[in-house]
């Protein structure tokens, strides 16, 4: 998958040029220094899903999942099942089962730990049919055990889907064989460039 746009959007008054690539079978990354606009790029991609062509994107954002009502995990999943066309039950998704969601069903979303909340966010994203999954710093605030669980899960997922991870610390990931896209500040603009084909 490749996305190439000049002057896509502005970050800190500067235009961003995008030359982004990602592939299956490996984890792909978007890296860059703090404040360069990685999350803004993530938001831009969310607002413009047509950029992915025929590929359907799904997203896992950075912020904690925090519904207005104090829902149980089972009720939150039910909302997606009932309101999103083509949504699958999380039970029908073999990958979701790797997230051990059964243990969380009777917990309130507000009572979930950081790792549990992250797993739930991923499960919510997996309920809709998708071809490419974009994650914004999925290992943030997770302990080592949960980090390893998420990484292992994403590596399994990447066999079948394209996975693109926004990160600023690649050392957490043992396998970095996929595309690495670098977002950097140039003199008058910001550039996103993939490092290898």
């Amino acid at each position: 998958m490749k996305i190439e746009i000049k002057n896509a959007f502005k970050v800190n008054q500067r235009w961003v040029d995008i030359n982004l690539a990602a592939c299956k079978n490996e984890l792909n990354f978007l890296i860059g220094p703090n404040g360069v606009g990685k999350t803004s790029l993530f938001t831009f991609l969310k607002l413009n899903p047509s950029l992915f062509g025929n590929l359907k994107p799904a997203y896992v954002g950075q912020s904690r999942f925090h519904p207005l009502s104090d829902l149980y995990v089972s009720d939150a999943l039910k909302v997606i099942e009932e309101e999103v066309k083509g949504a699958l039950s999380w039970k029908d998704n073999t990958l979701s089962k790797n997230l051990n969601l059964e243990l969380l069903m009777d917990k309130k979303v507000s009572a979930l730990s950081g790792g549990e909340n992250q797993k739930l966010k991923i499960a919510l994203a997996l309920m809709t049919p998708f071809d490419i999954l974009l994650l914004d710093e999925p290992l943030q605030n997770l302990d080592k055990e949960n980090q390893e669980l998420i990484i292992s899960f994403l590596e399994k997922l990447s066999q079948d889907k394209i996975v693109l991870i926004i990160e600023h610390d690649l050392n957490k990931y043992p396998n970095k064989a996929g595309k690495i896209n670098v977002m950097s500040n140039l003199e008058n603009r910001v550039e996103v460039m993939h490092d290898r084909d």
């Binding site: 959007f9 803004s40 938001t43 831009f44 969310k46 607002l47 899903p49 799904a58 997203y59 896992v60 954002g61 912020s63 999942f65 925090h66 519904p67 207005l68 009502s69 104090d70 829902l71 149980y72 009720d75 939150a76 909302v79 997606i80 009932e82 309101e83 999103v84 966010k121 919510l124 994203a125 809709t128």
Partner: protein, 294 residues
């Protein structure tokens, strides 16, 4: 034997319905259970249109009832908001053209501003011996025109149409705008529409009957304390407002039945006192941590 003025009871019910729904919508948009038409400045805007209308009626010598002139003025402002939101509010990376926290701060500031204007205008009106809508800040159902029922009925029909058409989007939006955007909801459009509906409902109620503080804040919050409403946003948006409507109807009934030295307590005064006490209780139960977190 219970003596009920049916028209009055229906109007009180619909006002409670509209204000509760207005509160639910503003809380869904802001993902904050302490948001309300008051904190977003909608009450103040509607009250301002009533004050301006009274000035136009007295100064312009217009013979139309205050509530209809006020509704017309408010409708004009409302259309202005629609025009601004659709021309200026293009999609930005912030989902909505305004930062929600900025919106709330602006709303609170606007409330204070209108409160000050109200005091100044009241002073001027009294100096000029003009009739002033002094009951504005404590809404009541003592005086109304029968035609109000038709306007409220029409508004109710429009609202139910809006809810049926947008319930999916609102349910997904209540999960958080991040999740909703990722699921393909046009978050900007959904938020904008919900805020306009919330504003419109508040304006209709205040134009006719004055301000009923805290209903839009407290009722949705209390409803979510019950599993039936907490589990399902559908229940909160369709059935919850009916509970709000019934509550205001009951409050008004007691105000109607029990007078003080021949004077009737405005239902808005009772809702302010009860609502303020309930708000303190809710805050003390740590509900404020959602607001602090945001």
């Amino acid at each position: 034997m219970i003596e009920i003025d049916l028209t009055r009871a229906i109007l009180a019910f619909m006002c409670g319905y509209f204000l509760t729904l207005s509160g639910s919508l503003s809380q869904i948009v802001t993902n904050n259970s302490l948001a309300s038409p008051s904190t977003l400045g909608f009450d103040a805007l509607a009250a301002l249109s009533v004050i301006v209308s009274q000035g136009i009626i007295v100064y312009g010598g217009i013979s139309y009832p205050l509530e209809f002139v006020s509704l017309a003025i408010f409708g004009f402002i409302f259309c202005g908001f629609i025009a601004i939101s659709y021309t200026k509010g293009k999609t930005t990376l912030r989902y909505f053209s305004l930062d929600i926290k900025f919106l709330i701060l602006t709303g609170l500031g606007f409330n204070l501003f209108v409160g000050a204007i109200f005091s100044i205008v009241q002073f001027l009106f009294m100096s000029l011996n003009w009739e002033f809508p002094s009951g504005l800040w404590f809404g009541n159902f003592r005086f109304f025109h029968e035609e109000s029922v038709y306007i409220f009925g029409l508004t109710l029909s429009a609202i139910l149409f809006y809810l049926f058409k947008n319930i999916s989007q609102l349910r997904l939006l209540s999960l958080g705008e991040d999740i909703a955007l990722g699921l393909g909801v046009n978050v900007v459009k959904a938020q904008r529409l919900a805020l306009l509906v919330s504003l419109g409902l508040t304006g209709v109620v205040i134009s006719f009957f004055g301000v009923f503080s805290f209903i839009g804040l407290i009722m949705p919050h209390m409803l979510r304390g019950f599993n039936f409403f907490n589990k399902s946003m559908r229940h909160e948006l369709f059935i919850g407002p009916a509970v709000g409507g019934a509550s205001l109807s009951i409050i008004d009934y007691f105000c109607f039945r029990f007078d003080f030295q021949g004077a009737e307590f405005p239902a808005g005064m009772v809702s302010s006192i009860v609502g303020a006490l309930l708000l303190i209780v809710l805050l003390a139960k740590s509900q404020v941590k959602n607001f602090a977190k945001d």
